[in-house]
């Protein structure tokens, strides 16, 4: 099942976008990406969820309400990981997950699902993917020639993100 992934800068400008497809298409036919008409919608779906992300990012435990059990809802749990926001939105069966870095960059992804049912998110895998891409972003940022909020055209970055997608998202 395909994903549309984007890193959104401080002025809601995308600095990196990519589409990932699962390796083994059903019974060998070319893996299918998003249906044609959906491809154009991806950017809009993603940007629609940015407002939710901007609200969630200031909550003490933003990813607590994902059925992680009631006891986690206690107010004073402040040391839990609030970078990964989990599933923040959905759009007709497509799930949207998000992750905010320390420098305010938003990593957002639309998970395409099987045509009828809605998509199941494996939180651990998605979170690991986000964490590794976050590290790649920090390595990009540390280069003195890279200016904040600039698109990341580096093929090295792109090939590594796709490798991570294969490793974590499309087993």
């Amino acid at each position: 099942m395909p994903q549309y992934f984007a890193i959104i800068g401080k002025k809601d400008n995308p600095i990196y976008e990519a589409e990932f497809t699962s390796q083994q298409g059903q019974q060998g036919q070319l893996q299918q990406g998003f249906q044609q008409n959906l491809k154009e919608l991806n950017a809009f779906i993603l940007h629609a969820s940015l407002d939710i992300v901007e609200d969630l990012q200031w909550q003490v435990n933003p990813n607590a309400q994902h059925g992680k059990g009631g006891f986690l809802r206690s107010k004073n749990v402040t040391n839990i990981d609030n970078c990964y926001l989990g599933k923040v939105d959905h759009f007709y069966g497509l799930a949207i997950t998000a992750y905010v870095t320390y420098g305010g960059m938003k990593l957002v992804m639309i998970h395409g699902g099987p045509p009828n049912g809605n998509t199941q998110i494996d939180d651990n895998m998605v979170k690991s993917f986000y964490q590794e891409v976050h590290e790649l972003y920090v390595k990009t940022l540390m280069n003195p020639f890279y200016r904040l909020n600039e698109p990341i055209p580096s093929p090295a970055f792109d090939s590594r993100v796709r490798a991570l997608a294969r490793k974590y998202l499309n087993r």
């Binding site: 549309y4 589409e19 491809k39 003490v60 420098g103 003195p144 580096s154 090939s159």
Partner: protein
Amino acid sequence: MSQKIILPSTSDDGVYTQSDGYEYTIGPKQSLPNEANAIPTPSRIYSESLIYRKQEVSLSAMAFLFQEMIATIHRASSSAQDFETRLNGYGYGIGTRLVELLNLRNSIPPNYSKSSTFLSNSSSTSVNESHGSSGTGTGTLSSASDHSHHYHENGTESLAAVISNMKPRDLKILDILQFVHGTMWTYLFGCASDDLVKSSERDNEYMIVDNLPVLTQFIPAGRSCDYFTCGIIQGFLDSAEFPCRVSAHSMPQGELDQRTVYLIQFDKHVLERDNLRFGS
């Protein structure tokens, strides 16, 4: 005339070509079928670990570089104000990098950094050593250097893999200031700053005190040269979404005639957010 929909992504040809990276004018590219076995494009910064190697240089070297930077900026600036803004700009970029780097490094489980990459997988490390040295062609291991550069893909360079939970993002003004006062100051100048004080007059003002600024201790009346550190603080806080203005003021106190106070004035909406979200 067949209605051909313009495909937002142009990756419809099945043949795998070496990915030439994201082109923002074109938009997202769909990953290709036979990409699985492609080795990632070799790159220096992505194959090196972000782990803190505790490397040091002499204060003299830093002081000389700093004074030459100051001299260069001074020659190019028209007024004191212009000088301070430019110098702030140099620091700002560093601040924006440190907020990501220091928080990421803080997420690494303590035992990991102690055992460091060399112990946790020593077997593959010995491979690194030999591989590393043959890679540099000189054949001789760089004996003097107590760390060697790993220029190859072997997975040990990714820190995120060992991080189970990222350090939580600081949401409150006090938390982010504690981070600046403690972790960032220790990273930059070797020890925490001498004080972190909330101003009594206005509630959006906080002060970080440094009795002897490391970088400007040799510069007479060096306060305007402290705008480099102001830039680092401002870059750090702006990036973490706590926009503010930072200024340096000389506040001598008895023996400490180079005592400097960094005044941090947060924007109004940061205050509102802080009260709204976490108000008492």
